[in-house]
Structures are given as structure tokens and as C-alpha cells.
């Protein structure tokens, strides 16, 4: 396979534009997914009966192929960004919801009791104690959701939504491997950089874990 590096050099601004569109299409759904799964996860912890049906519904969506789901949504939202973003939001729920619930479940009972004994109400205990402790597990879920979403959005090009999927399909139509290669590699880079940034975010959000590790070494 011959890569035409000159072409890539000449098209950096086009590729950058596509990368930005790509990230927006991929990451907004994860954000929406988080906005749904955080409150839903808290409710599922509070009322246990809510969890199995919620998870089953999320898993049903997860089992629907992206292409098929895009096609179904075309009927309602047309060839717009929503047609890509709504299915991706639904997919992210299957990963995010269990992690939110497990993360909140990882809070040790003595910690919860200590917070209550210090006079924390339910809401304050949730925000200041339980959610921070859940951060590592929740972020683990966000990492999987974000990385999968970034590589899945490429399929969104099939309904004309742009991003780096455009370069992959265009390169194939023109029998020009360089453009396919550029699109594919940029998607991998975007995914890995996003993943690394989320690891960094976790590091910043959990100073106590750093302190513990520092003492141990």
C-alpha cells in the first residue's frame, strides 16, 4: 500500500475540520448518555426494582445494529445529525448505566454511615461522598463508551453526516488508499487521545487515590 504523504500534507485543514465534526458527533451522545445514566443510576440504587428493567431496555438497544438503528431513525429525524446522535446515546446507556450503579455500589457501608453520622443529608452525602467515590468506575464506563462512539461514528457517513467517515468512504470510492488510511488512523488517534484525557481527568478528580499510592511507594 502506497501512502501519498504529500496529499495528507495538503489536506490537513480539511482533515482537521472533519476531525472536529467527528468528535462532536461522537462525544455529545456520550455526554447525553451520562446525563441520563447518572440520575437514573442514583434512582436505581435507591429503588432496586428499577434497575433490572432499565438495564434490559438499554441492552435491547445495544443489540440493535447501528446501521439498522440509523435507518429506523431516518424516518423520524431525517438525514440529520440527530439520526446519528440519538442511537449513539442509546448505545452509551448500556455501558454507562451499569457502571454508575456499580460505582455507587462500591461505596463501603461504614463510609456511608460515617457520612450520616457527621450530619450529611441524603443529597449532600450523594454529592460529596458517594459520587466522588464512584468516579473511577464511572470514568471506566465513559472511556469504553467514548472510544466505541468515536469509532462507530464512521458508519454515520453512510447517511451523509460527515466526519472522518467521509474520508474513509470517499477514499474507497476513488480507489485512493491514502484517504482511507488518513481517516482510519485519525479516528484511532482521536479515540486514544480521548481515552488518555479521561484517564487524566480521573487522576485530577481523585486526589485521595494519588495520596494513597504516594504513601505506599
Amino acid at each position: 500500500m502506497d501512502i501519498d504523504w504529500g496529499w495528507i500534507g495538503e489536506h490537513t485543514s480539511q482533515l482537521t475540520d472533519h476531525a472536529v465534526i467527528h468528535l462532536r458527533l461522537a462525544l455529545l451522545p456520550v455526554l447525553f448518555g451520562l446525563m441520563i445514566s447518572l440520575p437514573l443510576g442514583v434512582l436505581c440504587r435507591r429503588w432496586g426494582w428499577l434497575y433490572p428493567p432499565s438495564l434490559t431496555i438499554a441492552n435491547i438497544f445495544y443489540a440493535i445494529p447501528s446501521l439498522a438503528l440509523f435507518m429506523i431513525f431516518v424516518q423520524y429525524t431525517g438525514l440529520t445529525a440527530s439520526t446519528v446522535m440519538i442511537p449513539l446515546t442509546l448505545y452509551s446507556l448500556a455501558v454507562l448505566l451499569p457502571n454508575v450503579v456499580d460505582g455507587l455500589g462500591s461505596v463501603a457501608e461504614p463510609v456511608r454511615q460515617a457520612a450520616t453520622a457527621m450530619g450529611f443529608g441524603t443529597l449532600r452525602r450523594l454529592v460529596q461522598v458517594e459520587l466522588p467515590i464512584a468516579v473511577p468506575v464511572v470514568i471506566a464506563g465513559i472511556r469504553v463508551a467514548a472510544v466505541s462512539s468515536i469509532s462507530l461514528v464512521a458508519v454515520g457517513q453512510l447517511i451523509g453526516q460527515g466526519g472522518l467517515g467521509y474520508d474513509i468512504l470517499r477514499g474507497y470510492q476513488l480507489d485512493f488508499p491514502t484517504q482511507i488510511f488518513a481517516g482510519t488512523v485519525l479516528i484511532i488517534i482521536l479515540a486514544l487521545v480521548t481515552d488518555a484525557l479521561l484517564v487524566l481527568l480521573q487522576w485530577l478528580l481523585t486526589p485521595w487515590a494519588r495520596a494513597r499510592r504516594g504513601r505506599a511507594s
Binding site: P65, L67, M71, Y172
Partner: protein, 229 residues
């Protein structure tokens, strides 16, 4: 809801038309191709993912490498890999199997590793105390105890592969994706809905098969306490 009902009606009309049931573009032939792509890829991914996962989980070494590999696999856009391999080796089944195998390895690898690594150290100690060797511990203690997670990984991989095998059609190959792609280019919405419906149905059957498999092969002592995540 009315629209949804219409879509189901469209799909069922298409499914019951006798023209769909024979020939090169008939459902049995397309389904056979689809299952062939998915099955071969899943088998390859199982060999690689299970072997690596068991090795890393059992020895406790290389966990970081395995996680990075899985992460890389997740980051690769399947459609890009497929089209890239086609431009290199030409139009055949190979590109489809390469792309789908890369998609299926991460969930199998990660869950196998987590499952084996998560086996209680005391349980392994007890097994060794009973005179089991490394292999004995692996096959008679670690694998059975990790089975719920291993099956979960296989299920995720199988569903993703069955769903994603549709993109083979973009490279000009067969499978159920053919209906979706052809329907799109001909503006034949019934074909798109009918094809999508078949893929969704197949994904649900896979899910059902794994639910049954879990009941059959997982030790009864584990089912009560197995984590569902």
C-alpha cells in the same frame, strides 16, 4: 407509534414475498453468507482472545499490555479497517474476517482476563493445597469460576460481530447488509427496513442463545452470585 407499525408492516410484507426466498439475492443465501462472516471471525477472535486472556489472567503478567491491545482494538473503526484491507488484498472474504475479528477480540480478551484474575486467591491456594498443578488450577478452578464473565465477553463480541457484518456489503460483498446498502442506493425503503429487521432478529437470537448457554454451562453454585455487569 403509527410510523413504527408501518415499518413493521413494510418489513413483514417484504419478508413474506416469495421472491425473497430463493436465488443469489434470496434471504437463505444472504443469511448463510452473513453467518459465515460472523462465525469465522468469532471463532478466530475466540482463539486469540481466550488464549491471551487466560494467559494474562493466570500469570498475572502483561495485564497492561492486554488492556492497551483491547483499547486499540476498540478504537479501530471497523469500516475503515475493512475498506483499507480491501484496497490492499482485493475483494474477498479475508478483509471482512480481519475487520470483524479485530472488533471481536477486545470484549473476549478483557472479560476473560478480568474473570480469571478475579478468582479469589484463597480459592486458588486451596486448589494448590489439594495438589493441583498450574494447569489443574486453571482448568478446574479458574476457568469454571470465570465462566460467567467469559460468556459475557463472548456474547458482547457475538452481538457486535453479527450486527457489524452488515458493513461487508459496503465493500461489495454479501451478507444481510446487502439489502440495507442496495435499498439505500435504490431508494427502496422497504428493502432497507426488511434487511434491518433481519439483522435485529439475528442479534436477538444470539442474545437468547447465550442466555441459554449460561444456564447450561455455568456451575449452579455461581449463578446466584454472578455479577450481571
Amino acid at each position: 407509534m403509527n410510523d413504527l407499525w408501518n415499518q413493521i408492516k413494510l418489513a413483514s410484507e417484504w419478508l413474506t414475498a416469495s421472491a425473497q426466498w430463493h436465488g443469489e439475492d434470496g434471504i437463505p443465501h444472504r443469511l448463510g453468507q452473513h453467518l459465515y462472516y460472523a462465525g469465522a471471525s468469532l471463532l478466530l477472535a475466540m482463539i486469540i482472545g481466550l488464549a491471551l486472556g487466560l494467559l494474562v489472567g493466570h500469570t498475572g503478567r502483561g495485564g497492561f499490555l492486554a488492556a492497551s491491545l483491547a483499547n486499540l482494538g476498540r478504537a479501530v473503526p471497523t469500516i475503515g479497517l475493512l475498506l483499507l484491507v480491501i484496497t490492499v488484498v482485493g475483494l474477498s472474504v479475508t478483509p471482512v474476517i480481519v475487520a470483524l475479528t479485530a472488533l471481536a477480540i477486545p470484549p473476549i480478551l478483557v472479560n476473560t482476563n478480568e474473570g480469571v484474575r478475579g478468582v479469589d486467591a484463597d480459592t486458588k491456594d486451596a486448589a494448590q493445597g489439594m495438589g493441583m498443578t498450574g494447569w489443574g488450577v486453571l482448568w478446574r478452578v479458574e476457568v469454571p469460576m470465570a465462566l460467567p464473565l467469559i460468556l459475557l465477553g463472548l456474547r458482547t463480541a457475538a452481538i457486535q460481530v453479527v450486527a457489524t457484518a452488515t458493513i461487508a456489503a459496503y465493500g461489495g460483498l454479501g451478507g444481510l447488509g446487502r439489502y440495507i446498502v442496495d435499498g439505500l442506493s435504490r431508494n427502496d425503503y422497504q428493502l432497507v427496513v426488511g434487511g434491518s429487521f433481519l439483522v435485529v432478529l439475528l442479534a436477538f437470537i444470539v442474545q437468547l442463545v447465550f442466555t441459554l448457554l449460561r444456564r447450561l454451562v455455568v456451575s449452579r453454585g455461581l449463578l446466584g452470585q454472578a455479577k450481571s455487569s
